[in-house]
Symmetry: C2
């Protein structure tokens, strides 16, 4: 008897994958009864249960989830697309998302766009093709109209983790007031008497960073202080080291405070300052953004603007779950940043 699908390996070796037909045959029941055994066990007699259980064990049968999904038309999976999961902020966010999604009975597949619009699109294509139940994304470019169509036409749950005013179409968002975050950082710096501030970050690459800069600029302009901007290609520690070195190389008129677009840049800048023999905060102050776990733990504990990453991830998942429970289009979720004052600003 040649049963089971035979897969031929690349070297000609063959493997047989067990399907419910073989199980049914061995247990001497109809194939559909094996289905009942898994999905509606109350319909199956004790005797049949035992025989099927034995056959399943002997053959090592695992129901094919793909076929089940095909039949039901949608899979119990939520997709999460972030910029870079290895940046602690996104790692935290993913963690919160995953916890909530799992509690709601969904699995999570995680993707990094790596800030590439191309990869972002490829990942969305993948998720769309898999008929995933819902998608949350920290977008690099505006994908809202596409997601809106998914929501409207296909009934998918979608959420964008970005400022609603950046989002063209009508898609639920989870966001944090980055401009306020920038103002908090700026005001804190000015309150400590600064007249010359440098902003370090990838301003032109990223909305959020731009908003933070706008917030800083608002406060600086209001007080007639001086703002210098140091553009970085990315927001890693190396970028921070680099940008800070550039600042310090300017012999005349060194800024009193370095406001950084995130904690990684700030940690890099901090390192560069210390290495240059400056002491923080006496000679120069540093402010970060995000409040990752390592901020409090740096050579000089870092003052920073806290984003509640895990909560935001959880909120995104919650928004998807609400849509999937059929509660309509949920309201946008807006979070507020919080200033954390530590030693790097005295």
């Amino acid at each position: 008897m040649e049963m089971g699908t035979t897969l031929c390996g690349p070297r000609g070796e063959t493997h047989t994958v067990v399907s419910r037909r073989e199980v049914a045959q061995r247990a001497d029941v109809a194939p559909s009864h094996v289905s009942n055994y898994f999905n509606r066990p109350d319909l199956v007699s004790e005797k049949a249960k035992q025989r099927i259980a034995a056959a399943v064990a002997e053959l090592g049968y695992v129901p094919n989830g793909i076929a089940a999904e095909l039949k039901s038309g949608r899979s119990a999976v939520l997709g999460l697309v972030v910029l870079d999961a290895w940046i602690p902020y996104f790692a935290e966010l993913s963690r919160g998302f995953e916890r909530t999604a799992e509690a709601g009975g969904y699995s999570v597949v995680l993707f990094n766009s790596g800030r590439s619009a191309q990869r972002e699109e490829a990942h969305l294509d993948f998720l769309a093709a898999r008929r995933v139940a819902g998608v949350a994304i920290v977008p690099q470019v505006d994908v809202s109209s596409r997601l809106e169509r998914w929501r409207e036409d296909a009934g998918m749950a979608v959420t964008i983790l970005d400022d609603p005013c950046r989002v063209g179409a009508d898609v639920p968002t989870v966001s944090l007031d980055d401009e306020l975050g920038g103002r908090l950082a700026g005001e804190h710096a000015l309150a400590r008497g600064a007249r010359h501030i440098a902003f370090l970050g990838a301003c032109s690459v990223n909305h959020q960073v731009m908003d933070r800069l706008t917030g800083v600029r608002t406060t600086v302009d209001a007080r007639g202080a001086r703002l210098e901007i140091l553009e970085t290609p990315d927001v890693t520690m190396a970028d921070g080291v680099d940008a800070a070195s550039r600042v310090l190389a300017l012999s005349r008129a060194r800024p009193e405070v370095l406001v950084c677009s995130n904690d990684l840049v700030a940690l890099g800048a901090l390192q560069a300052c210390l290495k240059a023999g400056l002491s923080v905060p006496e000679d120069i102050e540093v402010i970060g953004y995000d409040d990752i776990a390592f901020a409090a733990q740096a050579a000089v504990p870092l003052s920073t603007v806290r984003q509640p990453a895990a909560e935001m991830g959880a909120a995104a998942a919650e928004l998807l779950l609400r849509q999937l429970r059929g509660e309509g289009r949920p309201a946008d979720q807006r979070f507020e940043p919080e200033l954390m004052v530590r030693e790097s600003t005295g």
Copy 2:
């Protein structure tokens, strides 16, 4: 005409998902020709191509990847199960894995077991049901026999990121010599004249940590020095703070070096020491493990035993790809740790 699958939302709203049938009808071709359009465009005339393309665009048709997978029996996805993706070491590892997998044409789904055997099993169930092409796992318990069966019976690619001697069955592994790592740390400490060493970590929870401890113990015993062990529940910074505090509370006979089971614990321990008014490395020395990016960046740059996380992740993916290319059971990959001496040990 009522075409397309109609999904009924929980509130009674309906959505129609476009299938190739509607596209075919609108383009006035046979459904199977739409298949040709996507998979063998050379068979399709220019005229038909245009009509199909138009229909696809107008209806927003996205081929159902689930159905395609069902037909082919396997999906172009690799699963990666790690303990905690938000621990920097695993984040790095995932990054390496993802890069290599993607270069090989596979998508990656990432799971955290959170050190729970239950969740680990649930994730493996999920991957098995999805007929994923390959699975790599950093195991919490011994899952090797199960994976071996997958490889033998179903022709799946599998890899375990663990010491081969911990792995019962015949499954390709990627590992690092943790005992050597422990010896490196121990020898370094002793070479600096230490006679009393404390080891901080979750020894009983984790093979790797236990091996590191064994390595340390070997060197310590060989020199007749004293070794004290501080068990922690997990390997977070908080655990490090806690364990170090316990060490410092012992008024008599403070150890000269704290050897930690990973960098997070070491960073926590470092913080606790500094807060207690001790200076590092003058009053007490600290050694970590992993060499995460933040180790070099700590209050006192951290001496540590480097694990090439990204390379190990990439190696795991490569092992899977080799199996999928039909190159048989690849040889185990063994990495060597490397001592990184920084200021926390003078």
